[in-house]
Amino acid sequence: MDYETKAHTFFLGMNLMPVKKVEIVGNFSYTLGEGSIEDFHFDSIYPTGDVKLDYNVSILNPNMPYLYDTAYLNGFAEYSNLEFSEIDLMLGVNYSLTNRVGVGLHYYYNDLDDEETYVYGDQSISLQSLMGIMSFKF
């Protein structure tokens, strides 16, 4: 079997001073991640020759006539699947009121989209936050 992991990451950034005393900053990144088990398949090995494992349980589940068969493992590769996308955005502006006093306002947006929610549950989440700050030098 193969286990594959892939990740694409793009990012953009800028730092501008369009007019005196004003600075504009921004960052954006996008990540797409994937992981999975490939080429995973078992043919049935039944009968095992084991009296206990050879119990016929087809009356309970016609798709699984025997108590144990390696073919029953074929479904579990799905639990290895990983697929998510993540966006991180920051936009901010800093303004110098005087040589001593400055203010800044920064906006953050973070989003994670979890397409495969096995094992740790759904990790998807979207957050935004706004940060304001005043600085003074003396």
């Binding site: 990740a7 990451t9 108590l67 390696t70 096995y118 990790q123 998807s124 979207s126 935004q128 003396f138």
Partner: protein, 658 residues
């Protein structure tokens, strides 16, 4: 809440925060011995999806995302004078997100540096749902319709076999303790219990370092120092344990975390002409005051299906047993390092390190089931290294290095518990030692556990650097590595692993605005780390495996050998015996305002020595960075990175014979 309304609200709140105007003062000036900066602000956060707290996603290290607001306080202070230098900085955003630091110098004689950092780490909650990939359904209610892709309803697997079904009296959900039926059924099954399904796990880390240094004015060649590191981890984590044999019952519990590490490292540094000598003694203490976890494991099938002859060391009959513990320990280290500048272009360095680690949680009255061995277990390590670097001329330099390390870990006497054999379910029957039942001497299965850490490691190598031209630099090297494992027979691993690594790289500054770099590394290994006799031949021949003939389903008295263990004749490994690694980097500056950087790494590795099927790896990482600077007041950046990694290996099916 709609985004527009939210933003308006955030801005309104922010304007209130900004009223917290700070002190005023002057900017740095030449005649002022001090500078200071104070930052005051706040953050308003919003979880747009109103997700439950457990969805950590991008907030793994974000301590404030589940709080609507937080205050930000920060500042810097710098003071300089002829004899006294001091600077400090601090940042507080949340009780779980703060950092401080300070440096102090008195006449450059006494120097003190300190840093403190505290942050929150949200950790995963494994809901164990992947364990539904088994035969029986796992949920405690056993209800049909549960999202279980492979599970069968939990019921007597052969309703026509009345005797067998009657041996499973607690399959009725109305019977107290019926869930344990799954652990006591003598069939291939696995199930789980998450005792805290709604718990959120997070740990708060606090790191504090202090460095003191004393430069004696009358003895400039002598320096004394003392380093201290403190780390504390507090919070709640998930811990798991498992009952096994007749059924694999995985249980998950919440566990408090309260761990402290303190490390004290005094040192002395002496410079005697061309020779520098530094001796450091380090004393590290780890204490775990976390919650003591205990679990009463599932009972074996012997309680239901006679005469089941279990071979487990413990089950529910042993009562509550400890699990998920990290032992308290003390590590002492002596390190002596020297550097001899024979000439300006000939430098010889040596080092010798001895360390001793004591496990302080094993010295209780002897009881292997509780991890007590009547002694503090100890691990010693000695390593010796040397390196010689010489610059033969302006173009050619040469380095030779070697290292030897010896690790010695205590061995342990394991008193195998053979008192849990129940020969009969007849009324009044009691357990007897298994050795007695089989007519063997007492302690027949006792053994000495020898550590897998016991080893000797040898390595040496040589590197050469050659400046062919002003713009072309070439480097080459060879490294040899040998690891000898003293107790390889006890751990089913190779006795010796040797590795040869060859390196070659070059940097070419083709033009003023073009730089080009290439690198290649080849690794060849003999007997890479592997588990020997780990699997049956991968030719499918074992598919016809059959247990010893048995007369009835109740007879579980059969052995794993020779029908299972002796069939495992092939090795498994995920370590390569051959690896190629290529590196490429290219830097182009088409114009003075546009800079580009390309990079790529490709690694192909395999292990074809192992007979249990080859192991292969293909890894690629590459990308491009672009930087555009139209003017000094304008910078744009862009980039892309692609990562690909694949492993190709045989999957080994576990053979279970309950």
């Amino acid at each position: 809440m709609k985004k527009g309304i939210l933003i308006t609200t955030l801005l309104a709140c922010l304007s209130l925060l900004n009223v917290n105007l700070v002190m005023a003062g002057d900017a740095k000036s030449a005649d002022k011995p001090y500078e200071a900066e104070i930052n005051v602000g706040g953050t308003l956060a919003d979880d747009l999806d109103d997700k439950e707290d457990g969805a950590k996603g991008v907030s793994e290290y974000n301590s404030i995302y589940d709080k609507s607001s937080s205050v930000y306080l920060g500042g810097k202070l710098l003071y300089r004078s002829n004899s006294f230098d001091f600077d400090a900085n601090g940042r507080f955003q949340d009780s779980d997100d703060q950092a401080y630091g300070a440096n102090l110098s008195l006449n450059r004689i006494f120097i003190y540096k300190t840093k403190y950092n505290e942050f929150l780490h949200r950790t995963d909650h494994d809901y164990l749902r992947n364990l539904q990939a088994h035969i029986f359904r796992a949920d405690s209610d056993g209800a049909a319709g549960k999202a279980d892709p492979t599970g069968l309803p939990f019921a007597c697997p052969d309703p026509n076999n009345t005797a067998f079904c009657n041996a499973l009296p607690d399959t009725d959900s109305k019977t107290p303790g019926w869930q344990n039926a799954r652990a006591t059924l003598g069939a291939a099954n696995v199930y789980y219990t998450d005792h805290n399904p709604n718990a959120n796990y997070e740990t708060s880390y606090a790191d504090w370092t202090n460095k003191f240094k004393l430069n004696l004015p009358n003895l400039p060649q002598l320096k004394l120092g003392f380093d201290h590191r403190y780390q504390r981890r507090e919070g709640c984590a998930q811990s798991k344990t498992m009952s096994k044999c007749s059924g694999c019952h995985i249980e998950s519990f919440s566990k408090s975390v309260d761990e402290t590490t303190n490390e004290y490292s005094p040192y002395v540094d002496v410079q005697m002409g061309p020779l520098a000598v530094k001796y450091t003694y380090s004393y590290r203490q780890f204490e775990d005051d976390s919650e003591s976890m205990h679990n009463t494991y599932s009972n074996l099938a012997s309680a239901h299906v006679a005469p089941f002859t279990s071979n487990l060391q413990f089950d529910g009959s042993e009562g509550a047993l400890p699990f998920s513990r990290t032992p308290d320990s003390i590590k002492s280290t002596h390190a002596l390092k020297t550097r001899l500048d024979v000439t300006k272009n000939n430098i010889f360095t040596t080092g010798i390190v001895y360390s001793k680690t004591d496990n302080q949680s094993t010295d209780g009255s002897y009881n292997p089931l509780t991890g007590k061995y009547d002694t503090e277990l100890q691990m010693d390590s000695v390593s010796v290294m040397a390196k010689w670097h010489t610059k033969l001329n302006k173009r050619l330099s040469f380095t030779v290095h070697g290292k030897y390390q010896d690790i010695d870990n205590d061995e342990l006497f394991i008193d195998v518990n053979d008192n849990n054999y129940l020969p009969s379910l007849a009324s009044g029957a009691s357990k007897v030692p298994r050795s007695q039942y089989y007519g063997l001497e007492a302690g027949y299965w006792d053994w000495i556990r020898k550590s897998g850490y016991d080893s000797e490691i040898y390595s040496f190598g040589a590197d050469i650097a050659y400046k062919a031209t002003h713009s072309l630099h070439i480097k080459g090297g060879y490294d040899y590595h040998l690891e000898h494992r003293d107790n390889y027979e006890h751990h089913d691993v190779p006795e010796d692993t040797t590795k040869h690594t060859f390196k070659l790289s070059g940097d070419w500054h083709a033009k003023r605005n073009v730089k080009f770099g290439l690198g290649y590394k080849l690794m060849l290994a003999n007997d890479a780390y592997a588990v020997t006799n780990a699997m049956s031949p991968p030719d499918g021949s074992f598919g016809s495996y059959a247990c010893p003939s048995v007369s009835g389903t109740e007879s579980f008295d059969r052995s794993y050998d020779p029908n299972i263990y002796s069939q495992r004749t092939k090795d498994r490994s995920n370590q390569p015996d051959l690896a190629h690694e290529f590196n490429l980097k290219l830097n182009l500056m088409p114009t003075n305002t546009f800079n580009t950087n390309f990079y790529a790494k490709y690694r192909i590795a395999e292990n074809s020595e192992i007979e249990g099927g080859n192991w292969e790896q293909n890894l690629f990482n590459g990308g491009v960075n672009l930087v555009l600077t139209p003017s000094q007041k304008m910078t744009f950046t862009a980039g892309y990175n692609y990562f690909f990694d694949t492993y190709d290996s045989n999957y080994c099916v576990a053979i279970y014979d309950g």
